[in-house]
Symmetry: C2
């Protein structure tokens, strides 16, 4: 984020920047899914891989590393054979998780409203497009 000296009148930007930081940890297509899945307790690698359904092994690993790096996940290796690795949320991440559920809650409550809005927006756009066709008779 560009930082600079923020001489723009609105300090809105000051609030927006940390937001961008949040997203860096959370916005990944899978990050939230992982956090939610790991919130219930220690989870193994393959458990995650199956419960998220659609994630590739690569992406799971990448996101796991990222979240671990940010101090949101704890990775516990049991030096057994076969290997066993468990992931769990740090306190910090558990707190984040509560905020996340608020967001999820919001999404669920307004899901249909959003779908409606999209539908009407799209039909309106389609109608307008048809209009244009009328105004442009075959060359």
């Amino acid at each position: 984020m560009s930082r600079r000296h923020t001489n723009v009148s609105e300090q809105v930007i000051n609030e927006a920047c940390p937001v961008t930081e949040v997203l860096d940890h959370v916005a990944g297509k899978w990050s939230i899914g992982i956090l939610v899945a790991a919130a219930l307790g220690p989870v193994r690698f393959t458990e995650l891989e199956r419960s998220i359904e659609g994630i590739s092994r690569r992406m799971l690993t990448l996101n796991l590393r990222k979240l671990e790096r940010d101090g949101l996940l704890v990775r516990t290796v049991h030096p057994t054979v076969p290997p066993k690795v468990e992931y769990s949320l740090t306190p910090m991440a558990q707190e984040l998780h509560t905020y996340l559920t608020g967001l999820v809650d919001w999404a669920q409550r307004h899901r249909t409203a959003i779908a409606d809005a999209r539908a009407s927006y799209d039909t309106a756009a389609a109608a307008k497009s048809a209009d244009c066709q009328n105004q442009q008779p075959g060359r």
Copy 2:
């Protein structure tokens, strides 16, 4: 999102999917910035363009359209010359905004902790890497 019949034991996935939907509206690099900026009241196009600082005209337009389509923003065109267009949050989006601020708050509180975690993670990785070098003497 794949939907299917969710025969996996964890229903975690059921909670995770709407989350993914939230992100689709919010996760864009700029979406949240726009929502925060527009939360204060009706904002004009160029105001947004300047207050966000770093966004391209194209991305601003794209995100604006997306948010409008999802019923989060209202676009009001004043048929004057020069043109004047104002954007404001819908009630639904205002509610979302409150949740967002919770997230922002979290980010601010833990920003340093996250930075620390990253630093130690990275140094640890570096140390380990050096270790490997020792174990692999020149061919």
